[in-house]
């Protein structure tokens, strides 16, 4: 079977999974459409009984528990089984919206021998992906978005039954080496590759794993995990000093040199690999495209209770429930002929709470030549200080810098000090002041964060001497007008802002800008990191 078309890869992955369910599963990235439907139709190679999962399922559905409606109707306890039981194949739709808790439960199920899992990822953006905890435990990832309908074909050749195959130590060494060359640090990947190679050998009726099996397995398992373009040279010099030369020569004696294997994997790598790697790194654990709810049912300020069934994450408002049930008691007793309090599922009232979402401070820092380079160091210091105190205040911090002709996101929203330090280690400065571009990038970050349930505030540090217009030309008047226009957009979107003037003389243009933004204006010509952090705290309140 050729590996060139994603469709063929998907079918092959499915068949390997059917032979060895221990491969964990497949993530299938595809929008709803005939191609996806075609693949869903071929899922029956895995067996007839597929269990469907949905990210919004509660614990009592997943893990089992009491069937409340049945219990109430019958008058005695009725238990129901959870879906995460046995070795049935699981199908998870809308996997990109999986919350972390759901992913944790399914991961634990996969870890203890359950599954395999077929996760349909319908994400549109690069930041809408299956939670890494789950993706890590599945061997394959196939992107079907570019498959045309005409390519869809179903194969129904019967599958062989699994048996044990043999492999040489050199083949094992090769898998591990290739994984290292692709920059994959997790050891689950080579482990999966070995299993996939064994399954592929079974599929082709071989007793021993051949080099072709290895090549296919590595391509399927490593391509989407690679964090660097594979380099066809021995990985780290650390292992070279070891006296294990016997094995080393064996590796080079293989029929299939690593070079060829790497070429095969390289061909499978998506063009935007580096972007994707960066996106995956930027994802904080909370951002999973699910969008945080402002109205919760666990904590915060209490709101009136409302009708709802007893889910696992909602608390029942007992008093309200009884109050709802009370008027019906006589009627229900007469109907059922039973005594005592009778509560139906429709009576349940669940508690609701309102909570304030986390705040995101987006620093838009002027790194141009006109703002002294020291400013940047101050902003860096302030960001780190704010982050260090972030636990008490639940703040997230992001950093946008603008210089030359454009703005860039130096630090995507994060609470992680580790990541911050890494990102802020070097910050270039100098060039023009593209204030409008900086505001635009900050606004984009703010809107994005808003969708994830954070409350963004943009904090602008500049001396206000905008001289680069949005189209990148050096035109002072146009630059100021563009900045004003962006400020209006920010205000219209309802994003809060704060303007800090870092120039030696206060700039009138900046005052006008802060008025447009309806934002506090703070002249702070000689700010150090501590004063900056204190000023931001004061201006924003707690």
């Amino acid at each position: 079977m050729s590996l060139d078309s994603p469709w063929d890869r998907a079918l092959l992955a499915l068949r390997l999974l059917a032979i060895d369910p221990g491969l964990g599963g497949i993530t299938i990235r595809a929008r709803a459409g005939p191609v996806r439907d075609g693949l869903a139709a071929s899922l029956d190679v895995l067996g007839s009984a597929l269990t469907k999962l949905h990210p919004a399922m509660t614990d009592d559905v997943l893990l089992g528990g009491m069937d409340l409606s049945a219990t109430l109707a019958a008058g005695h306890v009725v238990h129901k089984q959870g879906l995460l039981q046995g070795k049935q194949p699981l199908v998870l739709t809308m996997a990109e919206r999986t919350p972390a808790g759901f992913a944790a439960r399914v991961s634990a199920h996969l870890d203890t021998g359950g599954g395999p899992l077929i996760a349909f990822d319908e994400g549109a953006d690069t930041d809408e992906i299956v939670p890494t905890a789950l993706a890590e435990r599945m061997a394959f990832h196939i992107d079907l978005n570019d498959v045309r309908h005409g390519e869809v074909n179903l194969s129904n050749t019967p599958l062989p039954t699994a048996y044990l195959t043999t492999h040489t130590p050199a083949q094992l060494a090769q898998i591990v080496t290739v994984a290292a060359q692709c920059g994959i640090s997790s050891l689950r990947a080579p482990s999966f590759a070995l299993r996939a190679a064994q399954a592929h050998a079974v599929l082709n009726g071989r007793k021993a794993v051949s080099d072709e099996d290895i090549a296919t397995a590595c391509t399927l398992v490593f391509a989407h995990r690679a964090t660097q373009m594979p380099e066809a040279e021995p990985p780290t010099p650390e292992s070279e000093s070891e006296p294990n030369s016997g094995e080393k020569t064996q590796i080079t004696d293989l029929d299939l040199p690593n070079e060829l294997l790497l070429d095969a994997i390289r061909a499978m790598l998506p063009d935007d690999l580096l972007d994707r790697v960066a996106a995956a790194k930027n994802r904080s654990g909370k951002g999973n495209g699910t969008g945080a709810t402002r109205k919760g049912n666990r904590r915060g300020r209490p709101l009136p209770s409302r009708a709802g069934r007893k889910g696992d994450d909602a608390r029942i408002d007992l008093v309200a429930t009884l109050r709802t049930a009370a008027p019906w008691q006589t009627i229900r007793r007469r109907e059922s002929g039973r005594d005592g309090l009778q509560i139906r599922a429709s009576d349940f009232r669940t508690k609701r709470f309102e909570e304030r979402s986390d705040r995101l401070l987006i620093f838009a820092v002027d790194a141009s030549g006109s703002a002294a380079l020291a400013r940047l160091a101050e902003a860096k210091g302030a960001v780190e200080l704010l982050l260090a105190q972030a636990y008490a205040r639940r703040d997230h911090v992001a950093l946008v810098s603008f210089r030359g002709t454009e703005a860039e996101v130096l630090l995507p929203p994060t609470r992680s000090l580790v990541q911050t330090k890494r990102r802020l280690a070097s910050l270039p400065g100098g060039g023009g002041t593209p204030l409008a571009a900086g505001l635009q990038t900050a606004l984009e970050q703010a809107l994005h964060a808003g969708r994830r349930g954070l409350t963004p505030t943009i904090c602008i540090l500049t001396d206000g001497r905008a001289n680069i217009a949005r189209d990148g030309t050096a035109n002072r008047a146009q630059a100021a007008a563009d900045a004003q226009q962006m400020a209006q957009t920010i205000h219209a979107q309802g994003v809060e802002a704060l303007v800090i003037d870092t120039g030696n003389r206060s700039a009138e243009a900046l005052k006008a800008l802060s008025q447009t933004l309806n934002a506090p204006y703070l002249p702070l010509p000689r700010a150090d990191a501590n004063r900056l952090s204190a000023a931001v705290t004061d201006a924003l309140g707690d």
Partner: protein, 334 residues
């Protein structure tokens, strides 16, 4: 899969394994925090721990694993007084767990079907005298963290809700794992962990090959693999039991106490918890090695994991806290 991957078959990751063994010898050290990338054997080690730990004696059917019939809480309504050996509980606390599931709540089942006001114990009850494992601990919701802090401090779970007033013992060793790039841990929770280790994927090819080889053997030749490694696990278990006894006889010279204090002072760790944990960890380490007296070597071995997470965070320090601890150990202990 019936048997978890054997603890002794985990390749490398010596510090992590050592830390877990130390808490098994002396649970009062506190928990273990394991920080590192995915696929480095964190989950595997914790799931293997259950099989490694010596069994405990507990009253049969007791929801909080009480040692003696007198300690069984009244609400359990237990008739039996017989005790039985049972494996040390290792309870998973999943990320999305609700407060109800963690602390326990009104047993709706009994309330509705029989009209009884009964308590349904939660994860904290099950973890009593055992381990509570939180994967991705740095992503745990704040209100659950608050709850854990309170219980970990008092050793008792108090439930006051929905007309219930229940308290039961909840003493457990907290084991957390996570990836530091995804978020930081609240300092208060960090402080609750006695030991912390950082794990990374092995860098050399041969070790990595060995990992895959053993995993393959575990999956394809389970019976033979388990037979071989369960014996090793049993040997470690015996050493743990022996070390527990030896711990009582262990002598702590004045000079070692001074070393410990000087080390903590030089590192500027907050409070005295650092000293206490370091001392306990060093003693457990000595007991495990079957030594009769505590020496500087034991302190040196236990210091990085006991102190690494207790340093005051300095946002402008580029080097990790691990390097700082090693530097200070070199300075103080020579």
């Amino acid at each position: 899969m019936t048997n978890p991957f054997p603890f002794s078959a985990i390749v490398g990751q010596e510090e992590m394994k050592q830390a877990m063994i130390l808490t098994a010898i002396d649970p009062s050290i506190g928990g273990v925090l394991v920080f590192g990338d995915r696929g480095t054997g964190k989950s595997t080690a914790v799931r293997a721990l259950a099989a490694l730990l010596p069994p405990i004696r507990a009253v049969k059917g007791c929801p909080v694993n009480s040692e003696k019939p007198a300690l069984v809480p009244e609400w359990a309504g237990l008739g039996s007084k017989r005790t039985a050996e049972r494996p040390t509980p290792v309870v998973d606390l999943p990320l999305g767990a609700t407060e109800d599931r963690v602390t326990g709540a009104l047993d709706i089942e009994k309330a509705l079907a029989h009209g009884e006001k009964a308590f349904e114990p939660g994860l904290l009850a099950r973890a009593n005298r055992g381990y509570l494992y939180i994967d991705e601990v740095n992503l745990l919701e704040d209100h659950i963290v608050d709850l854990l802090l309170d219980v970990a401090q008092s050793g008792e779970n108090v439930v006051e809700r929905e007309g219930l007033s229940i308290r039961h013992p909840a003493r457990f060793v907290l084991v957390g794992s996570g990836n530091p790039e995804e978020g930081e841990l609240r300092p208060q929770l960090l402080d609750r962990f006695g030991l912390s280790v950082e794990v990374a994927s092995p860098k050399d090819v041969d070790t990595r090959i060995e990992v895959i080889k053993r995993r393959d053997a575990y999956e394809n030749d389970n019976a033979a693999f388990m037979l071989r490694w369960q014996a090793e696990d049993a040997a470690i278990r015996d050493r743990i039991l022996k070390a527990r006894k030896a711990l009582k006889r262990l002598k702590t010279p004045e000079q070692t106490l001074r070393d410990v204090a000087e080390l903590c002072l030089a590192l500027g760790s907050d409070g005295l918890r650092g000293e206490l944990t370091l001392l306990k960890a060093a003693r457990a380490h000595a007991a495990f090695r079957n030594d009769t007296a505590l020496t500087r070597g034991h302190v040196r071995a236990a210091a990085p994991m006991a102190l690494r997470h207790r340093l005051r965070r300095d946002p402008l320090d580029e080097a990790g806290s691990g390097t700082r601890v090693t530097r200070v150990i070199e300075d103080v202990l020579g």
